[in-house]
């Protein structure tokens, strides 16, 4: 299953990457699964996406909770809590 993953703000800086296309293994079905899959890359990934880090996620540009499902072709984004306004 192929998805596009975007990273913003401090997450983007820590990972040194703003976007990538990933082909996911079959056992990755939710945002929480994807986060754990990316964390398994180790190094900056394990740190920036650690469970202790408060992150927000979006699927197809809507904010969603970690249990949200992802499907082929989705645009998924990881970012810190927002600070606009």
């Amino acid at each position: 299953m192929k998805v596009k993953v975007l990273y913003f703000a401090s997450v983007r800086e820590k990972l040194g990457k703003d976007a990538e296309d990933i082909d996911l293994p079959a056992n990755v079905a939710t945002i929480a699964d994807l986060r754990s899959h990316l964390r398994s890359r180790g190094g900056a990934w394990a740190d920036a996406l650690a469970d202790s880090k408060l992150l927000r996620t979006a699927v197809n540009q809507d904010m969603v909770p970690p249990a949200a499902a992802i499907k082929a072709g989705d645009e998924v984004a990881f970012f810190p809590p927002v600070t606009g306004g």
Partner: protein, 141 residues
């Protein structure tokens, strides 16, 4: 309705006049947010930002009588005293206009994907989200 995410500055007076043109409008409430003290760079998520703001405005329209509305939010490099955000809400009466304007700002703070990075004397640092902003948004539930 106008939603704009832009680098350029805006003329609040002009925007307020533009949102006030319908004859049924009796009140316009507006809010302008400024950069306080420290230069900063604002990053956002193009596409999602406009979508999130549109959802917040729709939500406000379902709660109060909103005849017209403009939301402008800037991104990029901003200096102290620069304008960051404008919310202008036009309604039949002031109660709805005040409430909808405050609601839109409270939700912008917690739902619209913007991130501030301040240029402090010790170097650049990402601004941490405040729990007070979550509390402000929660009270509308």
């Amino acid at each position: 309705m106008k939603i704009s995410v832009q680098t350029e500055d805006f003329d609040a007076g002009l925007e307020i006049r533009n949102v006030s043109r319908h004859s049924s409008i009796g009140a316009v409430a507006s809010f302008v947010g400024l950069v306080r003290e420290v230069a900063m760079t604002l990053e956002h998520y193009p596409g999602m930002t406009e979508r999130a703001i549109a959802k917040i405005v729709d939500d406000a329209k379902s709660r109060w009588q909103v005849i017209d509305c403009t939301v402008i939010h800037r991104y990029g490099a901003l200096l102290p005293n620069d304008q960051i955000v404008l919310v202008a809400v036009a309604g039949g009466h002031r109660g709805d206009a005040f409430a909808a304007c405050e609601f839109i700002m409270d939700y912008l703070k917690t739902q619209a994907p913007f991130w501030k990075k301040e240029q402090t004397a010790e170097g650049a640092r990402w601004v941490e989200a405040k729990s007070a902003d979550d509390t402000a948004a929660e009270r509308w539930k």
